[in-house]
Subunit: 245 residues, 2 copies
Amino acid sequence: MTSTSATPSPSGEPGKTAAKAPAKDPWELPDVSGLVVGVLGGTGDQGRGLAHRFARAGQRVIIGSRSQERARSAAEELGDGVEGAENADCASRSDVVIVAVPWEGHAKTLESLRDELAGKLVVDCVNPLGFDKKGAYALTPEEGSAAQQAAALLPESRVTAAFHHLSAVLLQDPEIDRIDTDVMVLGESRADTDVVQALAGRIAGMRGVFAGRLRNAHQVESLVANLVSVNRRYKAHAGLRVTDV
Amino acid sequence: MTSTSATPSPSGEPGKTAAKAPAKDPWELPDVSGLVVGVLGGTGDQGRGLAHRFARAGQRVIIGSRSQERARSAAEELGDGVEGAENADCASRSDVVIVAVPWEGHAKTLESLRDELAGKLVVDCVNPLGFDKKGAYALTPEEGSAAQQAAALLPESRVTAAFHHLSAVLLQDPEIDRIDTDVMVLGESRADTDVVQALAGRIAGMRGVFAGRLRNAHQVESLVANLVSVNRRYKAHAGLRVTDV
């Protein structure tokens, strides 16, 4: 890869840090099995899929929706102890809150839940995309990315971004035992990204990989437009693995 | 993943096209063994690395530089029949021209080679990145991406984008026989992206995967900022594999 500086990065980076004190093992992640996972937009395909995977992994899961009734009926269908609640209730009762709402409702939903999400670990997995005859393309939120919009709207929450590149079809298919893919996790605080990585690792086949700060979330969100093209060309449900890690 | 429409894409996409006439096998790629590969910026780390890999795979390779002397001395070091030439000479004598110049010189170099690159298949692999204390971050070219800038500056060339996520360290290391990674290939014409995919497939361990049109190049270029973070955290030379493909 060719970049702005003379530094042959990213390849040059490991050498740069090698002289420093030994870093903490990046695979030493906390035990998150006791955390309650809330999923806003939990009645949508992506939300239902994630709820199914986390519940199946033994995590306590609450799916949120604008309508309590819809949330409860979706939860009942999912089984595995998944609960359904109104978004505000889901947010206040959960330790980690995954934001899986459609991009159109993203800002409005988060604004309305500012109090309930205060102090919570928020995981944004929204991909702002447009679609036309030529396929999908990236939209650029004013804040830079959906995750940065969330961080701007939720100053008292700990905002991270993850779970962008998963196929909702695979997530929701109960016949599929493993989903072999990596989950890129972005955030500003290592304690928070470690928790999200550990959560990703609870799902069979998945691995959470730290992939930078929120200012680099846009390209991770937008890459879904490329996966749409991959899926069309190869009739696949494409995901990503990070190699050499 | 959650997107703008109700369509559960990218997962929903395969189903959409399933009703159409059977598509051409996406892995049926042309024989490119006879093509001459030019590498502009061939004396830089990325350029030298790609030249080494293509020459090793049996491809005829010409590396280009502003200085004929520097190009020739780099070519001699590389061996395997690699030639060195001034950029203009490299461009006119090659069938496929890889652009591996630093982002700062990108527009100027391409503008100056418009005539030599007319009719050629151009493969842009430049990642516009900035670096500061917090690491790497994406720059956004006025045209949307380096590849779109190339397409705007070279209206008579066939512009594609590929080879963004490769570690220059691994590419250049003669002890490494295989580089197990996928190469995302973007472009407007299937004939062109097929050639670039086939070229990627000439390198041991690599596979060229079609990943969309040039309007979706920015996120592919920018993702290198995330790989820089991955490399720092895990002391790795990260690359990417596309799963389920």
